[in-house]
Every structure is written in structure tokens, then in C-alpha cells.
């Protein structure tokens, strides 16, 4: 979806078909097919996804998407329909040129003019007899943008970037006229089809150039006019320093520190998925020691609810779900064992590298050795090594390699070789149902052939993503994969895990989404992400330790309220974000506030929604569904939905969740029975729901409502109902 959209944007923005200035764009004649002709087809958009690059081609003519298949393109242009597309006797009459210049009807319209260099390149190639390339033709080895960082301040609003391609014979070539361009944020920096950047609104973004199979980016910072003084701001740890460094560059001031009440509620919801009780509120507020926030964080990290919350997060990512189909190993018992194993790892603080390694390299019975269920739960049915490889890459490196299944990744560095090399780690996995029906065996067949390249059917031996090919002859290649993946040296792994942890506390990753790591989606603060990754590795992948750093940072403890400089900031963590509570956390909080434990199918009373091992699928709970509980049918992090919908509001207002819990609740009646006065009761209701006392004005309006009938719980129930329906309750802030 996202890819499709960006393809569309690209196609729209880049081809207003302005003609380049007359300039030699290729070496002197004759042009080669791969180095000269293919780039023209790429630049002109001929081989884009909406045109001839589509899998089925367009109007009977197919080109490899973005030029990933030059041999096939050569064949299709010259020989697929002999004589039609290329006219060797009369090169100017070649259909390729007539179509591209719009001289004959062409669904894609005019792509370039007859006097353009694009036209001349192709014409000269056909005049030379449309030759195929010699086998020793140099290849593009990389591209660079120069400069790769631009700061706009003051009057300058335009800057030309150069795209330089490097070739395997050591040569270089400026390919501005042949590259494609895109920007991540048009309002901050736009880039035209020559590589000129125009500054817009203040901010920080990236522009990209694409050429051959490479994409590279340049950071563009647009500063506001006027003077800027960086005030002295307290910093709690390295996180603050790295965030401030970036903010300082962008001339953004961080918000003020959140008050104790805000911090208390935020930390509870983030770390253990519950609102603080009235007692917990009182004891924290009474505490006046300087390190009380740090101590609270330590206490929360030791609680069982922390393990519940993180076990659920992992179970969502790992698709722990059962359709009770023992033929595929997705029996309920398997899902339950897997969940329990995950929770145990979190509770016992098992380092993340070991946690991941145990799953990747697992073999044996899925009931005796629950991490084996990685190979039952990810497929959720028939085993397909490609699907599992894609899921594993996305889960533990954040890289979505699936684009490279059919063509080289258009916006990243992954090629089909990378893809099939990675798939080959999983081609030997075999599965078998045991004599006990619910049990399932997973093992590796070391003699299984590796994956075959889609284009030419060539076997591609197992190779790490962007790394070497290990010697796995006669061995289970997943062992080598697990070692490589979880190694402290693997920046992809450590940074992705650090980013996932970070995102759980800020509602946004430094790379967002956390599972879409690619060159064209760079981190909003690279230094911060790198440092977090390094720290996580140096802590031996101890999740709690990194969380402690994050929660103790001033950055985490900033207020939601903004100042004029950071009002528009959404990526630099200069203020706290409003985040709607997860469906299960929200339901659990309502249950806690009203003191009415939930009752789910097939679980004892008092079970919290976060503890449901299948995420409430069998609980069949309308509330959880409506509030976007993760369906666990893909590894996408965005599957846990947090956006508000009308159905949610209507359910809170009219549905049976709040009404039912209020009817059963003894919170108000208990306080009335205990003879608490209206003032105290109102205070406690506010503390229970919002972790704060009512303000003077709130109290002034509420007291008359309840004072009329001081012993009638109805008025208090109405207040509690209103509080539970407030956005302040449904959000973490």
C-alpha cells in the first residue's frame, strides 16, 4: 500500500517531462544497452510499476521493473516480436522511439522529445545495430549524492545536488539526467527532476536519488528565520544529549518536564499496562525524594504485569494464534505452550539475543520445545520458506525483503540475490505431525536444495542479508543464521530491537514504522538509534536495562504541551505524544478503575485482557475487536490498531462494557458506605481514572451535582461514567 502510494507519487512528481539541458549524458558512441539505454527507460518511467514494469507488462510489452532484468529487456525489445519494436533498417521509425516521443498513439503519452539526449541515446544505439553488451561491461557499484546534507537558513532556498554513479572499472559519471528523485516531505524540501532542492517549511527531511539498483539520500534541514538561543536544559542521560543535539540543529526547544501525576500515569501504562491505584498514587505523591521517579521505574519493571504486557507484544508480532488445526501444528496447545514460553523468557529476563536464537535455530517437538512454534505460527498453515524468511527478516531486522522476491527492491539496496540467499536458510525446514495429534515436529534436512532465483532458476546458496555466505554444507543453516542475526556486531538486529523498545514508550519509532527499515525511510535521529543499539548490545540484550535508560531520560518525561518551536515536531521527541491506549490495556484499566474484573471465555474470572494467550481471539470480545486488538495474522507492527473510530466512541457511550461494569461496580457504593464525603469521593474517582485530583473549576461544577443527594450513588456513577468516556482517560499523555 505504502509502496504503491510512493510509486504513484513518484510517477506524478517526476514526470512533468521537463527536458534536460543539452548535455552529454553518456560516453561517446556507441551507447551500451545496460549503461545507457536502460537508464533512459528507467528515467522516462517506461519500466515503472504502473507502466511496462508491471508484472504482466502493459499493452503486451513488458520490461523488468526499474530495470532489474536487462537481459530480458534486451530480448523483448529486439527479438520478442521480430522487427516490431526496433527498426534496424530505418532506426528513426523504430516503434520504441515513435511511442516514447508520442508520435504514434501511446497510452503512456510522450516520455521525451525527439531533440532530447534520451532520444539521441536510443537512436544511436539502434543505428549501431542495437547490439547486446559484451560480457565484461562495467557495472554500477553504487551512487552518491553530493552534498549529502544541506542546511537551509536565511535567504537561500535552492541548492543543486549532484548524483554520481560509480562503476566497477573505477570510473564515475554524473547521472543527474538519468536518476529519479523523491522527497520524504514535500512541504519541507522538494526536489525536481534535475536534482535541485527547494526549501519549504521549517523541518528536517530526506531527499533521495535512485539510479540503477541503488537509492541514496541526503538530509535536508530547513531552519526558521531569526535568531535562536539554545537555553540550558537539564539532561538525565545520553538519550537526552543525543536528542538535544538534534533539536539544537533544528532550532527546536523541548517542552517542559511533565509533572509527577502525568509521569506516574504514563509510566504505569507504558511499563505495566495499568493505571495506578489510588494507594499507589498517594504513596508516590507523598514521596518527596529526588530519585522517586527512578525508583518507581525500577519497581514497575519488577512486576509480573510487565512480563504480561511484553509477552503479549511479542505474541502479537510472532502471530501466536490457533485455529486448532493440528495438521499444521497450530493446535491450541501449541499456541498456549509458545505463549507461556515467551512470557517465561520475559519474566526471567532472558536476553533478547538468546530469546531470538532459541526460536530461529529450533528443532524438535513443538510441545516439548515451544520455540519451535516459530515454524508453525508464522506460516499458520502450509510451510513456505519464502514467507517465513520474509517474516523473520521483518521481525528481527525490520527489513521488508519481500519486494525483492519478484524484482530488486525499488527503494532499498536489496536485490533478488539477497532475497533468495536469505530464503535458502529456510528451505531445509521440514515439518511432520507426531503420533500424538497435537504434537508437531520441525527439523532441518541439510541436503535440501537452496532457493532458486526467480529470473533464471539458478540456485542461490544461503547468504546473510547484506553479508557473507556461510559454509553450511551438511549443517542446519539456521544455526549459522541465528548466530549471525543475534551477534552484537549486527547493527540491523540490535538497532531494530532498540527501536521497537523505544517505540513502545514514545508511540513512534526513531525509524517509523519500526518494521520498515529501508534507505528511503531513514531514522529521524541516526546517532540516537545507533547509540541505543550499541547500548542494548553492551547490556547483553537486557530489555529492562534499556527501558530503564529510556524511562529515566528527561526526553521520556517531557510534557505533552508544546511551545512555539516544537509545535510541528512529530519525529524528534521534543515533547510527549498523545497515545490512545491499546485495546487490552484500556479494557484492563476500565476493569481496574471500576473494580470489576473482566470475564472472558475459557479463562478464570479476573484474568486481564493482556494475559489472554491468543490475544482475545477465543475470548471473542467485542470491545477488544472494536478497539483494534492485533489480529495476529501478519507480523506487521501496525496491526495493533490505535486510531480512533466512531464505533469506539459509540461503544463507550452506549455499549455494555462501561454500563455493565458500572452496574456491577462497588467502588462508589463502598465509599458511600464508608461515609466518605463528596469531596473525597470525587478526588478518588479522578485519581482512579486520570491519576490526578479534580481541578478547582471541575470541582465547582461537580459538587452541586452530587451534593443534592449525597447518599445516592447515581450521581457519582454519572461522574465516573463521564470520566471513563473522557479522552483524557482513553489516552496516555
Amino acid at each position: 500500500m505504502k509502496l504503491g502510494l510512493s510509486c504513484l507519487l513518484l510517477a506524478l512528481s517526476l514526470f512533468a517531462a521537463k527536458d534536460p539541458p543539452p548535455r552529454v549524458i553518456g560516453p561517446v558512441a556507441p551507447p551500451t544497452f545496460r549503461l545507457d539505454v536502460e537508464p533512459v527507460l528507467f528515467r522516462a518511467g517506461c519500466n515503472s510499476g504502473g507502466c511496462h514494469g508491471a508484472a504482466a507488462g502493459k499493452d503486451g510489452f513488458h520490461l523488468g521493473l526499474f530495470g532489474y532484468d536487462p537481459a530480458g529487456d534486451y530480448y523483448r525489445l529486439t527479438q520478442q516480436i521480430v522487427g516490431r519494436r526496433i527498426d534496424l533498417a530505418s532506426p528513426k521509425e523504430s516503434l520504441l522511439l515513435l511511442k516514447a516521443t508520442g508520435m504514434v498513439p501511446h497510452s503512456g503519452g510522450r516520455r521525451f522529445k525527439p531533440d532530447s539526449e534520451y532520444y539521441k541515446t536510443i537512436l544511436r544505439w539502434i543505428e549501431a545495430g542495437a547490439p547486446d553488451d559484451p560480457p565484461n561491461l562495467p557495472q554500477v557499484t553504487g551512487i552518491a549524492l553530493s552534498p549529502d546534507k544541506v542546511v537551509f537558513s536565511g535567504k537561500d532556498t535552492r541548492r543543486a545536488l549532484q548524483v554520481i554513479a560509480h562503476y566497477s572499472d573505477g570510473s564515475e559519471r554524473t547521472v543527474n539526467q538519468l536518476a529519479l528523485y523523491l522527497t520524504n516531505n514535500k512541504t519541507t524540501a522538494d526536489i525536481d527532476d534535475q536534482g535541485n532542492v527547494t526549501a519549504g517549511k521549517r523541518g528536517d527531511t530526506f531527499v533521495f536519488a535512485r539510479f540503477a539498483k541503488f537509492t541514496t539520500g541526503a538530509e535536508i534541514i530547513v531552519l526558521p528565520p531569526g535568531k535562536f538561543n539554545w537555553p540550558k536544559v537539564a539532561s538525565n542521560n545520553y538519550i537526552d544529549e543525543l536528542v538535544y543535539a538534534k533539536l539544537k540543529n533544528l532550532r527546536i526547544l523541548p517542552s517542559t518536564l511533565a509533572n509527577d501525576e502525568e509521569f506516574l500515569r504514563r509510566a504505569y501504562l507504558d511499563v505495566i499496562g495499568l493505571t495506578p491505584t489510588a494507594d499507589e498514587y498517594e504513596s508516590f505523591m507523598k514521596d518527596h525524594s529526588r530519585d522517586k521517579r527512578a525508583r518507581l521505574i525500577d519497581q514497575l519493571l519488577e512486576r509480573d504485569e510487565f512480563a504480561d504486557l511484553w509477552a503479549t507484544r511479542w505474541a502479537e508480532a510472532l502471530k501466536v494464534r490457533s485455529d486448532n488445526n493440528s495438521a499444521f501444528g497450530t493446535d491450541r496447545k501449541a499456541a498456549y505452550e509458545y505463549y507461556q514460553w515467551i512470557r517465561e523468557q520475559v519474566k526471567r529476563d532472558v536476553p533478547l539475543d538468546q530469546f531470538v536464537k532459541a526460536q530461529i535455530a529450533s528443532a524438535g517437538s513443538n510441545l516439548q520445545n515451544p520455540p519451535v512454534n516459530l515454524y508453525t505460527m508464522l506460516p499458520q498453515g502450509q510451510y513456505d520458506p519464502k514467507a517465513v524468511a520474509q517474516d523473520v527478516a521483518q521481525l528481527f531486522t525490520g527489513v521488508r525483503v519481500q519486494c525483492a522476491q519478484c524484482h530488486n527492491h525499488p527503494f532499498d539496496r536489496w536485490t533478488q540475490d539477497d532475497y533468495y540467499g536469505f530464503v535458502s536458510f529456510f528451505t531445509g525446514v521440514k515439518r511432520k505431525q507426531a503420533s500424538e495429534e497435537r504434537e508437531f515436529y520441525v527439523y532441518d534436512d541439510p541436503n535440501a536444495p537452496p532457493a532458486k532465483h526467480l529470473l533464471d532458476g539458478r540456485p542461490v546458496p544461503a547468504r546473510f542479508l547484506g553479508g557473507d555466505a556461510p559454509d553450511v554444507k551438511g549443517k542446519d543453516p539456521r544455526g549459522a543464521l541465528a548466530d549471525w542475526l543475534t551477534s552484537k556486531d549486527n547493527a540491523l538486529f540490535r538497532q531494530n530491537l532498540a527501536n521497537r523498545i523505544w517505540a513502545a514508550f514514545f508511540g513512534r519509532g526513531i525509524i517509523e514504522p519500526v518494521d520498515d527499515v529501508r534507505i528511503s525511510n531513514p531514522p529521524s535521529n541516526r546517532e540516537l538509534l545507533e547509540e541505543l543499539g550499541r547500548r542494548l548490545a553492551s547490556y547483553d540484550f537486557d530489555t529492562r536495562r534499556l527501558i530503564r535508560d529510556i524511562c529515566n531520560s528527561r526526553t521520556y518525561q517531557l510534557a505533552v504541551a508544546t511551545n512555539p518551536t516544537n509545535r510541528d515536531d512529530d519525529s524528534q521527541f521534543s515533547h510527549a505524544r498523545l497515545r490512545r491506549l491499546r485495546a487490552d490495556v484500556l479494557l484492563d484499566s476500565i476493569a481496574e478503575v471500576t473494580d470489576t474484573p473482566s470475564n472472558f471465555n475459557e479463562t478464570p474470572n479476573g484474568f486481564r485482557a493482556v494475559q489472554l494467550f491468543e490475544g482475545g481471539h477465543r475470548a471473542n470480545n467485542y470491545f477488544l475487536k472494536t478497539f483494534g486488538l492485533c489480529p495476529r495474522d501478519s507480523v506487521n507492527a501496525s496491526d495493533t490498531r490505535l486510531e480512533p473510530t466512531l464505533a469506539q466512541t459509540l461503544h463507550l457511550l452506549n455499549g455494555d462494557t462501561i454500563e455493565g461494569k458500572l452496574a456491577k461496580s462497588t467502588v462508589v457504593s463502598g465509599m458511600l458506605k464508608a461515609g466518605r464525603n463528596p469531596d473525597a469521593i470525587l478526588d478518588e474517582l479522578f485519581i482512579r481514572t486520570l491519576s490526578r485530583k479534580p481541578s478547582e473549576s471541575e470541582k465547582k461544577r461537580l459538587i452541586p451535582l452530587v451534593a443534592a443527594n449525597p447518599n445516592d450513588r447515581k450521581a457519582y456513577d454519572d461522574v465516573l461514567w463521564a470520566l471513563l468516556n473522557s479522552t483524557e482517560f482513553a489516552f496516555n499523555h
Binding site: G60, Y75, Q79, V82, G83, R84, R85, D87, L88, A89, S90, P91, E93, L95, L98, K99, V104, P105, E127, G129, Q382, K452, H453, L455, D456, G457, R458, P459
Partner: protein, 528 residues
């Protein structure tokens, strides 16, 4: 497991009551084969009253010697059932009948399943069962969730279907009955006088282009040692008996994609045009080079065209997906064929003038009543663009070549393939080559002697018998061979290549070819 192995493990069925008549049929059949079809009536008398045998005799009268070898094809009981038992019974058994298909019984196989017929006797490539086990795109990939069954087993099932879905060693084949493959050259359409040769062509002044255009069309006169070769806005004529150019005809309409001599050799049809601009069909008098008529006003090139045997009809088609049939006398369009869903890439009238065969870029072939446009059948087995269609002289067989690599010889009477040549022109893969290498058939023709000559992406000229046996091949040429034609006497094969050259090949199983030459009368010019 190879076929030979399958045969070794075959268990002879016990001869019991109900099978007796079939056993007898088998004996009769073998005798019929020995004695020839004429003795069928005697055989019939010998065992009168037996229904099986009566049917058998009727079959024999038509089939002749073709089905005289009942042991040739695999049968269900001995060869196919063991394969099913090993790979398919787990799901497709009488009890479970997954998808409604029971492979445990012969009757169950014939009945098919939820997706319709599992097998079409005689047509393996169209049978769902074969598509499924050979993991064809779009078909269910069987056995589900397991690797493909061994190639030898797939081949056995293919042969079993192609051989008429025999139940056991004594069964009669089901499905179509092939016509006789016997063919004697006919003198149908032979001109009364001398065959037409160019005598007084109009003067020709066009310069030779600096670089020759690939040969997009090539035709040999059916009665004279003359070939017509497509060039850039021109047609070269070439004498193959003397190997000399015989003149040029201007074709300012563009590039000829079709060249055809009329069945009597007096008229030359040229069709083509400018890509995505115009398309025309032009008729020339072979002797004088005069234009006899210009037909069609297409918006893209004409890719397929022919003139009927009586010279009264011209059919043409191209990227518009419509075939137009035009009266030569007044240029009026008689009817259109709108059945094709893709570009029309090949068409040909039958030599007896009764039928028109049309083929398209998706692999569809249709047969029509030539004069009325009434539908006369659908030949569906190709999976990629039809590049060539050619009738045998007796109008009984039609050969089709396709980019899918197959040459199929069709019995026109019932629309079933007599022979399927798969991978007819697949080039030998290099040492480091994997995957699908383009192996399409680019051009073919039935010779006057009833053989088939073809060229394809292996740059080799190949000769086949009508029942699909390889009879000869040339060495691979240096350039892609794009078109082929057979000389009037059937002794020489002319091939055109990607660089605009032609070569003449001849000989027995190992064809030898002349060095390729440009058919032009004058040297190329440097100007463009």
C-alpha cells in the same frame, strides 16, 4: 521411476469372466494390425454377435494400423494406478474423495471431481490431472503441499492420457481417432501452364538500407523455384535453383510481415505496414510485378493475411484482434471474426478452399468455414503466441507453431492433436544457464511432400514427419532464424535470419545450409 521400470513391476491382471471379451478383442486387434484394415470385416464375421467386437471392427476400419500396438501406451491398472496409490490415494481415495475426485477406481478417474473432468482422453496438455501434477501455473499444485512427483511418473501419466486413457492392457483407447497420416503429394491448384516466374518487373530505384531489416516474412512459390523475402519497404525475389536475385518489388506501405503466394503461384500477397500507424494488404502479379489490388485500411500493421485457393478472398488480421475477410473482386468486406481476444498473429486458408484457420497471441486457434465465417472448431492447447499456421496439401492436417515451444499437428476433422512436439526449438543451455530459455517456434510450413519444416529460437532448421518424428536438423546458425519456407519440390528449405539474410538448406537427416546471403540485387548504401 522410468517407464521401463514401471513395466517391469507391472502385474498382469488375472483373466476372468468379464474381461474375456476384451482379451479376445485384444487378440483380434493385433491380428487386425498384422493383416491390415481390410480384414476387419472378416474378423467381424468371425466373432459376430459380440458387441465389443463390433465396435472394435468399426474402429479398426478407420484407425487402420495406427492402434495396432496396444502395449505401446501405459494403462490404468498396470502403470497409472501404482503411481496414484503412492502419491494421490491419501486424499483422492474412495472414502475421502477430496474435491470429489476418486482416483482409486478407473471409473472415478473418468468421472472427474469438483473441478470437472480430470482427464480428456487423447489430450494430456488439456487435462486438469496432468496440469496439476506437472505444477502448471494456475492449476492446483498436486500433490498438495508435497514436492512434484518424479518426472518419469508424470511422463507415464501424460502418455497414458495421450494414449487414450486405457483401463488395462486389453482396453481400447478412448478419445479421438486419428486420420491417416499417409499423404501423397497432390496436384490440387496446379496451374495449367508453366508456373509463374518474374518476367518484366517494373523498374526499382530504392536504395538499399545501410543495415538490413530482420526477415519478417518469407514465402516460396508452390510451383516455381522462386522465393519472396521481406525487406525494408520492399520485397526481394530470389531464384533458389540458380541462387540469384530475381528482382525487387516496392512496398512503400512499410515492412511486410506476411508474404504468401497464391495456391497456383501466380499471385504474391504482401501484407504489413508501419507499426501503430497503418496496415495494408497488397496483391502483385508474379510475372509482371503489377499491383492487382490493395486491401485493408488498418491502424496498425497487418500481422497475418492470406489469399484463398480460388483467389477470391483475402483474410487479414493484426493487433486489432479482428480478422477481416474481403472480396478480391470488389474490395468489399464480407465478414469479420471477432472471436479472438488478442492480436491475430497467423492465419491460412486451407488448400481446398473450405476452411480458414486463425491464431492469436494468447495461443488460441479457431477454424472457420472460409466462405461464410461459420465456426468450425477451436484448437486449444497452445499457451503462448501462435507464430505460424500451415495446412497440409490435402487439407486434413493443420500444423501450428507457437512461442510456447510446441509444434502441434491437428486433425482438422475432430480438432484433436495427431502429434505434439514439445520443446521443438529450445536452444541448448550454456554451462551456467538456468531457468526458462526462450524456445519458441517462429515459423513452420507443411512441405509439398507432407513433412513439416520449422525454425525457432534455437536458430536451427528442423524437419519433422506429420506424426511428430524428428527427421532432420541443420547446424545452429550464427543469427536468429526468423522465417522458413519449403521449396516447390520439397527438397530445399529456405530460412531467413535476423540480419536480413537467407540461406538454402538441403539434405537428409543432417541438413547442410548455404552461407547466408542478402537477397538484394545491389549493395547497401552508406546514407541513411
Amino acid at each position: 521411476m522410468g517407464i521401463a521400470e514401471l513395466h517391469r513391476i507391472r502385474v498382469q491382471p488375472l483373466v476372468s469372466g468379464p474381461q474375456c471379451s476384451e482379451r479376445l478383442g485384444h487378440r483380434l486387434l493385433t491380428r487386425a494390425a498384422r493383416l491390415g484394415a481390410t480384414t476387419a470385416r472378416e474378423l467381424f464375421r468371425e466373432s459376430a454377435g459380440r458387441q465389443t467386437v463390433r465396435a472394435l471392427a468399426a474402429l479398426l476400419a478407420v484407425a487402420g494400423v495406427l492402434f495396432g500396438q496396444p502395449g505401446k501406451h501405459p494403462n490404468y491398472d498396470d502403470d497409472v494406478k501404482p503411481i496414484f496409490a503412492r502419491y494421490c490415494f491419501a486424499c483422492h481415495n474412495a472414502g475421502e474423495m477430496r474435491s470429489g475426485l476418486n482416483l482409486e477406481a478407473y471409473s472415478g478417474v473418468l468421472k472427474g471431481g469438483g473441478s470437472g473432468d480430470a482427464v480428456i482422453p487423447g489430450r494430456a496438455a488439456s487435462s486438469l490431472l496432468f496440469k496439476a501434477i506437472s505444477h502448471e501455473d494456475g492449476a492446483p499444485q498436486m500433490p498438495l503441499g508435497n514436492p512434484k512427483i518424479p518426472d518419469a511418473a508424470i511422463a507415464a501419466i501424460r502418455d497414458w492420457i495421450a494414449g487414450g486413457v486405457l483401463e488395462n492392457a486389453n482396453s481400447m483407447p478412448k478419445g479421438p481417432v486419428a486420420p491417416s497420416l499417409e499423404f501423397k503429394p497432390t496436384s490440387l491448384n496446379k496451374p495449367a501452364g508453366a508456373a509463374a516466374m518474374p518476367e518484366s518487373l517494373p523498374p526499382f530505384t530504392l536504395d538499399e538500407p545501410a543495415r538490413a531489416h530482420p526477415i519478417t516474412a518469407l514465402a516460396a512459390s508452390p510451383w516455381a523455384p522462386l522465393v519472396a523475402v521481406a525487406g525494408h519497404e520492399r520485397i526481394y525475389l530470389y531464384r533458389i535453383d540458380q541462387r540469384v536475385p530475381a528482382g525487387e518489388l516496392a512496398f512503400p506501405e512499410g515492412i511486410p510481415y506476411v508474404l504468401r503466394f497464391s495456391r497456383d503461384g501466380s499471385t504474391l500477397l504482401a501484407a504489413g505496414g508501419h507499426s501503430v500507424q497503418s496496415g495494408k494488404v497488397v496483391l502483385f502479379d508474379v510475372r509482371t510485378g503489377k499491383r492487382l489490388g490493395v486491401f485493408g485500411d488498418e491502424r496498425d500493421v497487418v500481422l497475418a493475411a492470406d489469399i484463398s485457393a480460388d483467389g477470391k478472398l483475402v483474410a487479414l488480421g493484426g493487433p486489432a484482434k479482428i480478422v477481416k475477410i474481403i472480396s478480391v473482386a470488389d474490395g468489399k468486406e464480407l465478414y469479420q471474426i471477432k472471436k479472438h481476444t488478442d492480436w491475430i498473429t497467423a492465419l491460412e486458408f486451407s488448400p481446398d478452399g473450405a476452411r480458414l484457420a486463425t491464431g492469436d497471441r494468447s495461443g488460441g486457434i479457431f477454424l472457420w468455414e472460409a466462405t461464410s465465417g461459420g465456426s468450425a472448431g477451436n484448437l486449444a492447447d497452445h499457451k503462448d503466441s501462435i507464430t505460424s499456421l500451415s495446412w497440409r496439401g490435402d487439407s486434413q492436417l493443420l500444423a501450428s507453431g507457437s512461442e510456447d515451444g510446441q509444434i502441434i499437428v491437428w486433425s482438422v476433422a475432430d480438432g484433436f492433436p495427431v502429434a505434439t512436439i514439445a520443446k521443438a526449438h529450445t536452444p541448448k543451455p550454456g554451462p551456467q544457464a538456468y531457468g526458462v530459455i526462450p524456445g519458441g517456434v517462429l515459423s513452420l510450413q507443411f512441405t509439398s511432400e507432407g513433412r513439416i519444416v520449422s525454425v525457432g529460437r534455437d536458430s536451427t532448421v528442423r524437419v519433422w514427419s506429420a506424426d511428430g518424428k524428428a527427421q532432420g536438423a541443420s547446424p545452429a546458425a550464427g543469427a536468429l532464424l526468423t522465417k522458413v519456407a519449403s521449396s516447390t519440390d520439397g527438397k530445399s528449405v529456405i530460412a531467413g535470419d535476423y540480419q536480413g539474410r537467407i540461406m538454402v538448406c538441403g539434405g537428409a537427416s543432417a541438413l547442410t545450409c548455404s552461407p547466408p546471403v542478402l537477397p538484394a540485387t545491389r549493395p547497401a548504401t552508406a546514407s541513411r
